[in-house]
Symmetry: C2
Subunit: 222 residues, 2 copies
């Protein structure tokens, strides 16, 4: 009878912990700010919100009604239903944050976890980062093994695809190594530290500065 997606539930709870919001805005945050890692549609989000309310993690509040307009000082936006995290919800989220089980190192789950590292204790952060890393190293070994086994009977394109895939994974491992090192040495995120990777903007990516696009909506629904 419910939509227990895990990752969506987690992300919603996490976003609402920062501040109450209504569904529409929530979805935008999911897809942009926090996003990149996953786009959810309303058909997923709204039922999930209802389920969370039913569980007692959230309560619905009527958004500023037409009458008491301008009551909303900062958001400047009228809203229908604002969702607010309950005490139980907060507690529940805290528990979720503390867990660092094997599910937490899968691609999307990991991204969601990482996005809320700001509210996660250092030791849990370490466990998650290291878990993710060894997950990726497993994957790498499998890829290497399979590549070694089949190398000769594959055409160049298949090979190239595989090579690129492996490099992507290796790159993420390096990234995790840096992050883990950062955590270990205590400096809290490489804020202004020297970019030792020349990463910035090195190569031939056409800037193609067409910012004059109509861009009517921020919405990723399409």
């Amino acid at each position: 009878m419910s939509r227990r997606s895990g990752i969506l539930e987690f992300a919603v709870l996490g976003l609402l912990r920062e501040s109450p919001m209504h569904g529409y805005e929530l979805r935008k945050r999911l897809n942009t700010s926090l996003g990149v890692f996953r786009a959810f549609s309303y058909g997923t989000l709204y039922p999930c919100l209802k389920a969370l309310v039913a569980s007692g993690w959230l309560i619905e509040e009527p958004g500023s009604a037409p009458e008491d307009a301008r009551a909303a000082s900062l958001a400047g936006r009228r809203a229908k239903i604002v969702y607010r995290l309950t005490a139980e919800g907060k507690e529940h989220f805290e528990e979720l944050l503390a867990h660092s089980g094997p599910d937490a190192w899968e691609d999307e789950h990991f991204a969601a976890r990482f996005a809320f590292f700001g509210q996660t204790s250092r030791d849990v952060r370490m466990r998650v980062l290291e878990g993710r890393r060894s997950r990726l190293e497993e994957r790498l070994e499998k890829m290497r093994a399979s590549l070694a086994r089949t190398r000769e009977r594959l055409d160049d394109y298949t090979l190239e695809l595989q090579r690129h895939g492996m490099e992507s994974v290796e790159r993420e491992v390096r990234w995790l190594n840096e992050l883990i090192e950062s955590e270990r040495t205590g400096r809290d995120m490489r804020k202004g530290s020297a970019p030792q990777d020349t990463s910035g903007d090195a190569d031939g990516i056409p800037r193609d500065g067409d910012s004059s696009r109509p861009g009517p909506s921020d919405d990723t629904t399409k």
Copy 2:
């Protein structure tokens, strides 16, 4: 009444075009050799095969029966049901290869297309690569815009996640640029060309040479 996954259908047809196979083996190829990009389970594969047979793209052949053992000279493996591409199936696959619609630039779809570039005409290859690239550039612009809009109100971890995500996309764009250049100048895949990226094994990935793992199965089912 059927399982028209598109990408699975495409991949199955493509693999069977090279040589007839039975389901079990097909799945392994999907997950390893050709794989990396997607793992399908039997619950997906078998019904799909049935559907393809019903469509007339495939025919089932009895695999070498217990009696006439050793009939299978090369594969050295007994098989139950071997699937073979029909003439219509071949034709159908050819058509699919020729299409280069917008669906073809989405992540998984693109990987599947790329895996069969060996059987794709050069101009279609170009269209797919360029389509993919502009798809990614769109995505980049969106990310940049959203980042610019929200930069200050995000914590360091969220920011770092976003930065890493963008770099990943930028990296794929560079990769595509190289591939497109290769196609354009005619040299057919950077076969033995000098690795201009020092890619090989540069950075701190612990080799962790534990090849003595039990590793009972190649199976990615888990």
